[in-house]
């Protein structure tokens, strides 16, 4: 067992966790161990390169929007280069061509407009979704 000192815990979260732990008759250490074990069950998804590509895409979209350009941007290989296409069909064809000719390994398509944020509803609980039950 390792003893650690943790900084920066949200005050409200700490109070609520402490109160709930007391109700359940368990220690804060036990709560922390449970939370860490749950976090470890989650698969690791490397998002850093995704964030860099997102910044590049955002910058390009802003530039093209300012010029009044419409259509789709395709960014290849995490930002190595990009093209502008008039339609989604054209974007997919361009990626296909680039894949055959240059062996690209990734491509991101973005319509030239502010990035929409959408929510999808899923009825199942996490255990069912994870296939654990």
């Amino acid at each position: 067992m390792r003893n650690i000192f943790v900084r920066g815990i949200d005050e409200n979260v700490y109070r609520e966790v402490k109160a709930r732990a007391a109700l359940l008759g368990i220690t804060l250490s036990e709560v922390v161990n449970m939370a860490l074990k749950e976090w470890l069950k989650k698969p690791v998804i490397i998002e850093n390169s995704g964030r860099d590509v997102r910044r590049i895409v955002d910058r390009l979209v802003d530039e093209y929007l300012a010029k009044g350009v419409k259509g789709y941007i395709v960014v290849f290989n995490r930002g190595e280069r990009h093209i502008v296409c008039r339609s989604l069909d054209e974007a997919i064809d361009s990626i296909r061509k680039a894949y055959v000719e240059e062996k690209i390994y990734s491509a991101v398509i973005r319509e030239i407009k502010p990035r929409p944020v959408k929510f999808l509803e899923i009825g199942g609980g996490m255990l069912e979704i994870r296939g654990e039950i």
Binding site: K42, P43, I45, V53, R54, V57, V75, L88, I92, I95, R96, Y99, I104, Y105, S106, A107, V108, I109, R110, R115, P116, V117, K118, F119, L120, E121, I122, G123, G124, G125, M126, I129, R130, G131, E132
Partner: protein
């Protein structure tokens, strides 16, 4: 045309699924997978990270923000990608589908189910697609 699929009885209660062809439109590589019917899912298709990697769907990602809300509480960020979805001879469409970071099985939701005439015959434990 006929499509009949027996429920998956390895789960209790048994669960209907569709055998779904998922094709990368860039490489034309195709995988056939079980997609479990989930009318509680409002989107098209949710796939695992494993399927995303096997099909090299990093070649056809879409930069849009999508979040899954589980049972009204838990929010998970999804990665949208574009694929061709096939179900026998009944369905062939280019669709935006979603990669879920934690999911253990593929789910097909209302965005696709509402395009099909599906009969869930519970007593016989079979799913049928009709014309």
């Amino acid at each position: 045309m006929k499509y009949v699929e027996k429920y998956d009885i390895s789960i209790a209660p048994s669960q209907p699924f569709l055998k779904m062809g998922i094709v990368n439109p860039i490489t034309n590589v195709r995988l056939e997978e079980r997609a479990y019917v989930d009318t509680g899912f409002s989107g098209s298709l949710i796939i695992t990270k494993n399927v995303y990697e096997k099909l090299k769907l990093s070649l056809i990602e879409v930069d849009e923000e999508y979040y899954a809300i589980h049972a009204g509480h838990f929010i998970t960020k999804l990665k949208p990608v574009i694929v061709i979805v096939e179900i026998g001879e009944f369905y062939h469409a280019r669709k935006k589908i979603f990669v879920h970071p934690y999911i253990g099985k593929i789910l097909v939701g209302r965005d696709i189910l509402n395009e099909l005439y599906i009969c869930l015959n519970g007593p016989k434990q079979i799913l049928e697609l009709k014309d």
